[in-house]
């Protein structure tokens, strides 16, 4: 376990090193926010002064070293355009994104596993085939396109649900969440469905494949031979084995759910981290970009750690700490 944590930490330090360097070099190559943001009437001297006030006139290496020194002291710098600590900005937006991602994942799991089980238990029935065809469709529809259609249909044509925004939030365990109030929930539904669709298909397919595979296993036959009821065979013996790949994939994909939230957030005007990062890229707000990457990497690592722990709980054969081949 310690070896495992250390391995992950080393890896993430590397990721961060590489990514921050890339971002630094990239942003440096493109330009600086002053060119975009300064009042057009300003003269060359004003521009130069503003650039140097932000320290953007120094050589790349020097800027990077300054950043490293401050980062090691726990300071990732202030956002150029918000003038507040970049990390604070990100953390402020994180609950919204996490809520969306969690809602989507929950939706995907709650629907995906039963549907996948159904399709796996009755692969030749029309329902099974329908579920599978549906999952291919869900797999194929680009997120942004579905988002548009959802807005078109449910917000504009039918007017059942709000088209965008987060709605009122309530405090829950110290964070602002929207799922506790009815209006907040209504705002959450469409984006969550939108974001869930791809993962839903993925989980359906995984579950189905897992079920079909498990059904062929001797241990399932042996469980039947013990005289267990069908419910127990499927609900315990099959399900527990399926959960292993499903949990792994859900965990590993959680990072990408958060990342894809960028698309959903921009369509539904959801005030999360994704929207922030796009804006920050547009104005070259480097501290925010770097802080965002840091947070994502940290989240991904945390999730991986959690996945590994859950994995070892679900699958006693796995011992945490062994290098995965």
């Amino acid at each position: 376990m310690p070896a495992f944590v250390i391995r992950r930490l080393l890896q993430s330090v590397l990721v961060l090193g590489v990514m921050s360097l890339l971002v630094f070099a990239g942003v440096y190559a493109i330009g600086n926010p002053v060119d975009i943001l300064i009042d057009p009437q300003a003269g060359q001297a004003d521009i130069a002064r503003a650039i140097s006030a932000l320290g953007l006139d120094r050589p790349l290496v020097e800027q990077y070293l300054i950043f490293l020194r401050q980062a090691l002291a726990g300071d990732l710098g202030n956002s150029f355009v918000y003038n507040v600590p970049a990390i604070q900005l990100i953390l402020e937006r994180m609950p919204a994104t996490l809520e969306l991602a969690l809602a989507a994942t929950t939706l995907a799991v709650l629907l995906g596993i039963p549907l996948g089980l159904w399709a796996g238990l009755a692969p030749d029935s029309w329902q099974g085939k329908l579920i599978m065809s549906g999952s291919i469709l869900g797999f194929s529809l680009p997120t942004f396109w579905v988002g548009l259609l959802l807005i078109m249909l449910f917000a504009v044509e039918l007017g059942w649900l709000p088209a965008s925004g987060r709605g009122p939030t309530t405090e829950f365990l110290g964070v602002q969440v929207s799922f506790l109030s009815w209006d907040g929930m209504r705002h959450l539904i469409l984006p969550a469905i939108n974001l869930a669709l791809f993962k839903l298909s993925l989980i359906i397919r995984l579950t189905r494949a897992g079920t079909r595979e498990a059904l062929l296993q001797d241990y399932v036959k042996f469980a039947r031979a013990k005289g267990l009821s069908n419910a127990r065979v499927v609900g315990v013996h099959v399900l527990k084995n399926i959960m292993i790949p499903v949990v792994t994939v859900i965990g590993l994909e959680f990072g990408s759910v958060i990342a894809f939230a960028i698309v959903t957030e921009s369509i539904f005007g959801w005030p999360g981290m994704g929207k922030l990062i796009i804006d920050s890229i547009n104005v070259l707000d480097r501290p925010v970009i770097v802080a965002y990457l840091l947070v994502i990497v940290f989240l991904v690592i945390l999730i991986n750690l959690a996945v590994d722990i859950v994995y070892s709980l679900l699958d006693p054969r796995v011992r945490i700490g062994e290098a995965q081949a």
Partner: protein, 506 residues
């Protein structure tokens, strides 16, 4: 859900990054600040200067401006407003060094400040400077007491956000909304009547679809900056009202007139041209005649623009009514090209930003279509603004789209068409390096003239002189637009700002 009688919800089209009114000089932030603060001078719906916290101003001598301040004005915290607060506010921008878009430019000309009495203030400039009252329109007046030593966070939290404006800040949820409460002791109550809204929520909805959908779904009562695609439909919808007015932003194309071999310019087979065709006024004129501005206005902008014959739009100071938009005449354009020695045209690349102006990408493509019709093979390359402006300034383009908003014609001329001179601050955005010493002279004369009428005449003269050379290809003036529920009304503004206090119930 309809709003309660006293609540107004407005969908804003851009993110507000900070409520510190002196930190970042960008329109969305200023728009938010205008709800809470006042400046010494205000502008009316036509972008003309009117009194704000200063009731009057005059030039005492050629380098001294005197401002008479409004009495009995109270800050939101109840403290009285005085010249001390003005001095503090004028000095504060320079203390915020970490800004990529500082306000310092507006106070830079001021070399000395003098308080005559609590409601009289004198400001000295080094040289005669006519624009000072205009510049001071951009400096928000904050309470010295509340804002001393305050950080951006103090403003965002509302602690330091104490202004004299029509609304008090209740809550700022970054990236989501700004909640405001009416300032019941606002000095600017019109005819003794305060704005009808006790409470105003500014929802931040930068995505066009999100904003329009929010209006259609009734999430907000009004929105600004209507996507052109939805104008027709909104107009046809009896439940909503649309308000439009010509905005101060003009779109035009810069042409490289200083290099002999500008980049991205060649003959149609890709071989370099012998000389720079843009240096020939006939070519520039031909290109201008090739543009069907009416098609642009009707098709690309869906009526949300008017054809441009001036650098500034009609209501703006210095607009020359006599300068009409160039008429569309492809035949004449071809003839002119042939006359200039390019019967087969040539090839060029038109650069444009893709996230800066309304329909900028579409506009660039349409221009390319039209130039192609007269034989100028036009490729289009669009870039995000973050990349675009840096490259443009570095001279990487020879034919590029720019949009410009200005309070006055002479300011626009100075930035866009005056001979580049970094020391004087002339021609900072003159990407094509057009140069007309006579026009430059008129401009200089104008800026030293403190008489408004004379100054405007000089500005008009300079504009007429310069635009005769077709130094840029003018396209259109944008319209600013608002849409709202039928029951509300808003007087559309040239400066594109959305003032919550100006929404009225019908």
């Amino acid at each position: 859900v309809a709003a309660t009688a006293a609540e107004l919800r407005i969908g804003l089209g851009a993110d507000v990054t900070s409520l510190d009114p002196h930190f970042l000089n960008v329109a969305p932030n200023n728009n938010a600040a205008w709800q809470v603060y006042d400046a010494l001078t205000h502008v009316d719906a036509n972008a003309r200067l009117i009194p704000g916290l200063a009731v009057s101003w005059r030039a005492v001598d050629s380098t001294t401006w005197e401002f008479k301040l409004r009495k009995d004005v109270k800050f939101h915290d109840g403290s009285a407003f005085s010249a001390e607060d003005v001095i503090f506010s004028l000095e504060r921008p320079a203390t915020l060094s970490a800004s990529p878009g500082p306000f310092t430019g507006f106070v830079k000309p001021i070399v000395a400040k003098k308080i005559i009495d609590p409601w009289t203030l004198q400001l000295k400039t080094a040289a005669p400077y006519a624009m000072l009252p205009y510049d001071l329109n951009s400096i928000f007046i904050v309470s010295k007491k509340a804002a001393s030593g305050a950080s951006t966070e103090d403003f965002n939290s509302g602690k330091a956000a104490i202004g004299t404006g029509p609304y008090k800040l209740s809550r700022f949820a970054r990236g989501d909304r700004i909640e405001l409460a009416r300032n019941d002791s606002y000095w600017g109550a019109q005819n003794g009547k305060l704005a009808p809204w006790d409470k105003v929520t500014l929802r931040i909805l930068p995505a066009d679809t999100a904003r329009i959908a929010a209006l259609l779904a009734g999430d907000v009562d009004a929105i600004e900056n209507i996507p052109t695609a939805d104008l027709t439909r909104l107009k046809a919808n009896a439940k909503f009202r649309l308000e439009q007015k010509v905005s101060w932003r003009t779109l035009f194309l810069h042409l490289d007139q200083y290099r002999d071999h500008p980049p991205h310019l060649s003959d149609k087979s890709g071989k370099p041209l012998a000389k720079n065709p843009f240096k020939d006024v006939r070519v520039r004129m031909a290109m201008s005649k090739a543009i069907n501005r009416r098609a642009i206005v009707e098709r690309v902008m869906e009526g949300n623009a008017i054809e441009a014959g001036n650098l500034v739009s009609p209501p703006v100071f210095g607009h020359v009514a006599a300068l009409k938009p160039e008429t569309y005449d492809p035949k004449a354009a071809k003839d002119l090209l042939a006359e200039a020695g390019y019967p087969d045209g040539f090839a060029l690349t038109l650069y444009a930003p893709n996230n800066r102006y309304v329909n900028d990408e579409q506009l660039a493509q349409t221009v390319a279509q039209m130039l192609a019709r007269v034989g100028i093979l036009t490729r289009v390359e669009t870039l995000p603004a973050s990349v675009y402006f840096g490259k443009a300034r570095a001279g990487e383009f020879s034919f590029a789209l720019l949009g410009w908003g200005s309070f006055s014609g002479d300011l626009a001329l100075r930035a866009l068409l005056a001979t580049p001179n970094a020391a004087k601050g002339y021609g900072a955005w003159n990407w094509g390096h057009y140069s007309n010493p006579k026009a430059d002279g008129l401009l200089e004369q104008g800026f030293a003239t403190l008489d408004e009428k004379k100054r405007e005449a000089l500005a008009r003269e300079a504009a007429t002189l310069a635009l005769k050379d077709v130094p840029v290809i003018l396209l259109h003036h944008q319209l600013a637009s608002w849409a709202m529920r039928k029951e509300i009304a808003y007087e559309a503004r040239t400066d594109e700002y959305t003032f919550a206090r100006d929404f009225r119930r019908r």
